[in-house]
Amino acid sequence: MSAALAALLDPALPGRTPDRPVAGYVGADVPVELLTAAGYHPRRLSGSPHEDASAGRRYLGGGLDPVACSVLTRLLAGSYGPLDVLVVSRDCEASLRLFYVLRELRRVEPSVALPPLHLVDVLHLPHRTTTRYVLAKVRGLRAWLAERSGRPVGDDALAAAVVAHDRVRALLRATGELRPRRRLTGTEFLGVVDAATALLPDRAAELLGALVAELADRDPRSGLPVHLTGSAHDCPDVYAAVEAGGLLVVGEDHDRGDLLAATDVGDPGDPAGLELALAERYQHNGPAAPRASIAERAAHTAARVRSRDAAGLLGYVREHDDGPPWDWAAQRAAAGVPAALLERQPYGRVDPDALDRAVRALRAPAVAA
């Protein structure tokens, strides 16, 4: 294994442990550049399918994506360590409901220790009216962070943060482009993305740069190359099971994988344009299942299947993740490769019999799809 890959996949990697105030955040719709520019170490919150989430389920109910229940449980238990602030996006309904429960807990159960909380309501319809709204939300987050930290989030710091995070995204894309050449597994890529969001951007870029150089000479990984669609994955378990079943995940369309780095903020040329550049980037940050139209999703999936030379399309949908099942019919029709769906799967797991059937279907000749 390359040294950079080993370092990125090492849970004890120096730099994962923050040495500055920590901003926990939920969802890829949080403009992380603002957190960095405000002097925080951004930490994206993940759930854990291996831990009991009944405490979170008590508040969020049994009909919501179990990831949100797990994140809430871990927040209540202090599992993330000290968080100086918590910013929640509404990247999906479960995140929004998580925000509402946290806000209500702060109101009615003040004895529950929770950090200061803010919702950043980034919306995604491709309209000018939505851009103006998202711009107001970006400005609102910037002002709130300044209020919390006691100092303004300056243009210079924000511009530097934009450059740093764009650099990380570019390197993630470069890493992703090694996947059709089978230089790393999907499980490894998922871990790389996780590390890139856990580290400060300069350190992440340093390691990602080394990774891209080192992987160029790596032997190809084995397995039938597939594009994975459906739910996002905040832990490697499902990827590992799928790849142990003989598949190689060469691409995906969720925001803990390829989609996280699909677009950049860019250089607006004038500091006065930074907030608008952020607004437009996050409004148009890629067709995530919970927020994009079926047509956008199908077109994106089909394009990614082609660009990554995937031989199959695998859909994995977690129980109570309501968006992806509606995309599936159009995605399957557009993909042009054998397709199989694993539906209503438990969090962090995949039904082994269903996976066996899916693998057999994916290995069938394309005409049979």
């Binding site: 508040y59 509404r90 209500e104 309501d121 919306l123 319809l125 009216t129 709204y133 099942p325 995309d327």
Partner: protein
Amino acid sequence: MNAPVRTGRLPGAAAATAYQRQWFADLHRDHVPGAPLALVNADAPQEIFRAMGIPYVVNQWWASIVAAKRRTQDHLARLRERGYPDYTEQYSSTALGSAFDPDPASAPWGGLPTPSIVLAETTGDASRKIFDVWGDQPGVTFYPLESAAADTVPERWWELMPHDWESTVGTDRLDLMVGELEGLIRFLEQTTGRRFSEQRFAEVLALTNEQEEWNRRTRDLVAAARPCPVAVTDSIPAVMIPQWHRGTTWARDAAHRLHDEVADRVSAGAAVCDGERARLMWVGRGLWFDLGFYQRFQERYGAVFVWSMYLAIAADGYVRYGDDPLRTLAARFAAFSDQLYTPPWSAEWYVKEARAHGVQGVVHLVSDDARGSWATTRALRAAGIPVLELHADNVDARRSDPDHLDRTVGGWLEAEVLPRADD
């Protein structure tokens, strides 16, 4: 005091149902395929269609009709056959099953005519996808509206909304919805050839406020009356059918009629249940496939459902006054569902209503789709009111065996509600 007079069906409820049947029959008779016809979500700004003379059918109303006729499973099966899930947002997806009906003539009420436009907010993760599928049907356009959310809100929205909606909803959300509604109006003008008259629109808004003010008076009458003078199975159609026709003189007058009929019953000491022992509140959507549910407990236990959200939200959730008609309409809908489902608004409002109606117990329907049920239950219990969470879907009977529901509610009444009510 004289013994209460047992009431029959409320005439206004029967009249509203008859009106809706005739209206739908007329729609069938007059509708030319391809002519402007909208399918709109319940919490969408229907007033624009009303002002432009474009007929519309409310998505959730249609689902309630299909459920009441026990046809929901047929409709969900058609979705399943086409590769769509039959287990998410059934209340919103039922009507889509009508679009794939091979024999619409045998459908309830002659079937759902194919709309030319569908209008919905992008709430939840699945709702907009359901309407995406609608938009793929020949001749149908989906016009999506954003569903924005607020970071902070004042708590007692029901006192603020009629006049102080700008600060209650928030300028950003209102700016967004005004912009979207301007786009909708231009779209409808261009695609239907209909004219949007500001004067007519102002009339529609004024009629709506009049209607909802009558509903407010009716709600206050019901809250104060002992015993309960009107069954929720009557008040729901008597309120909601006019609600779908709001902005018309018929709807305004129907709300007035409902008020007067309830006032007469209160004056006469009429009761929906002889020997009312306990007053109950139903929190959640109507259990459309089993409307007899609401009566069974009054017959067995003297436990009367005196409250549903339909009259109460009509009383508190719609009235908006303002000088700018379009912004005033945006204020009605930019945060509409928050009033019912988002704490602290929802939780505090249910407590306010429970206290005003003097209920001794709350049955809270908790569906799988994402809603703020914990906060509502917590707030009611913190106010000292017993709450039963009933986990079921309001249109999909697969998860809602009537015997199980009856046993659950009956056991809870006997254990928690009736002993306290009889004290």
